[in-house]
Symmetry: C2
Subunit: 321 residues, 2 copies
């Protein structure tokens, strides 16, 4: 038996590969088989993480296992889908039992938190990279898309912005921070929490939704374009953690919130009437702006002046050469 066959057996024995509701056939045949309840559709998303591009190499394989799955599952949250299953395509230059074990433990931890099962994949030799394809269930016609924002809606996010971008100098060992600050920022970077429950709560309420992976300004542009509307973001409403503010100062923290990537919190639009019940139920929803007729995204200050940065392109870790 080759070492890659051993890897396959290793993942097949992982706790998250032991099946579950909706998984009619798991790892081990030419295909896995998924079953959907009548009246539901399957949501599908694929994400690739490349070593040295999307994550530092070497890095802690447990944290990488958590992060690689969380990033992909966040797309299910953004559609208001219930996680069902995922496949993992792992390309690795060498086979290290210790690395694999810790990677699989991180993957398992996130899989159990999200309620999602590993049903297959591929294992190949080559430069380290990971491609995860995630599957979720959503009642037909109820998926949240980017295309329904209406003038008059409020623009909201599901939590603080910029923490993961703030963590980047720590991840890359370019700076240090007191542990009270570093712990929060690094947790956001390495263990983003897909906002699955919030996604479900937004079904039938949000007019559009997506998850923020490339930064608030860039991703807002996707909703503005798909919905053919203009989004106005109010700078003073950007939710910033005390730790991010202490670490970066106000100006840099705002920049991280606007253009930093890897937040993986939901960005969505709501008719104003839907807002109060969500807040009353305790959802961590923050209004950051509004939807108007027009196109594009503008950032305004407390006086309503347009202060949109001309360069929205954040040098995302994964845009590095």
């Amino acid at each position: 038996m080759g070492e890659f066959e051993l890897i396959r057996k290793y993942f097949a024995a992982a706790p998250c590969a032991q099946g579950g509701e909706g998984i009619a056939l798991g790892i081990g045949d030419d295909c896995a088989l998924l079953a959907l309840p009548v009246g539901e559709q399957l949501a599908v998303s694929t994400d690739t993480l490349v070593a040295g591009v999307h994550f530092a190499d070497p890095c802690d394989p447990f944290l990488l296992g958590q992060r690689s799955l969380a990033v992909a599952v966040s797309d299910l949250a953004a559609m208001g889908a219930n996680p069902l299953a995922f496949t993992l395509a792992l390309t690795t230059p060498t086979v290290s039992a210790d690395w694999l074990q810790r990677y699989a433990q991180g993957l398992n931890a996130m899989a159990q938190r999200c309620g999602i099962g590993l049903v297959g994949g591929d294992t190949t030799r080559g430069p380290l990279s990971l491609t995860l394809t995630v599957f979720g269930r959503v009642p037909s016609g109820q998926a949240l898309t980017r295309g329904g924002a209406q003038p008059g809606d409020v623009l909201c996010v599901g939590g603080d912005l910029g923490n993961a971008a703030g963590a980047l100098p720590l991840v890359l060992s370019q700076r240090t921070a007191p542990s009270a600050i570093a712990e929060l920022l690094l947790a956001h970077y390495w263990s983003p929490q897909p906002q699955l429950a919030l996604g479900l709560a937004l079904r039938g309420k949000a007019t559009s939704a997506m998850d923020i992976s490339d930064g608030l300004l860039a991703d807002s542009g996707h909703i503005a374009k798909a919905s053919v509307v203009r989004l106005v973001i109010e700078q003073q409403r950007l939710p910033l953690s005390a730790q991010l503010l202490a670490f970066l100062g106000e100006q840099e923290a705002q920049s991280a919130a606007l253009s930093g990537g890897d937040d993986y919190v939901l960005l969505f639009t709501l008719p104003p009437v839907e807002l109060a019940p969500l807040l009353a139920s305790g959802w961590p929803v923050k209004v950051i702006g509004r939807v108007e007729q027009g196109q594009g995204v503008v950032l305004v200050d407390h006086a309503g002046q347009d202060i949109t940065p001309t360069n929205r392109g954040y040098q995302h870790f994964h845009e590095a050469p």
Copy 2:
């Protein structure tokens, strides 16, 4: 707009990305949405091809486009599934418009032949590799698996074996061959034809099935193990093309058929009573052996003597370091 955003738009505009039956939402949102008819299950398979490991680099991007999809769709054929959709995760070190255009043309050509639509994926910078995840539909309970072969069944394949392995010295420019030989062998390597129609025809008839990707002996071992049976392969029944025989001679041709990879023809078991109707309908089915009680795979000569090679491991191109 970054160059990777341009690639995404490029694929989104491809003919094979224009939706189809069962595709409720295609490229462009956080997830694609697939709809399944009542009573059907979704078959899912993921395959990765790494440059320099699974294919020579550089190579013709049109041929790579065809091959990368065919290899993945072959797993749907092996389950008796109808192709529905696929995602493409493309990692590339540089963005070449010419390369992308020709790759997409090859992908399109195979997608149209297989009736499958591109619904999403990811595009990232890094060492060249391709991960395709394919989705198919199959009536609940009718998928062909590796696990149902019964003693008394005949062991069959869906066509000639060893042609793709025979093509390898040509692909790697280690040898040359007359065009009448080279054309057939290279066609099997670069444009494998997923046996989708045969897979559908085998529903309710075959007791087990898979596609041959790692070589007949190795893949027969998977059916033997999953079905808890012994498979007996008769050497003189191995179907070999005249071109392969002319190129390699009988002994090497048999070796390519037994241990060469990349055939992508179906390997399956049938009760003998099911055989005649399939042959009468014109399916290219060849009996190569039988199923017995026991375990493992044995190769026998015309006198019934065990001539199983001790080293079954073929040095598959994708097992190269």
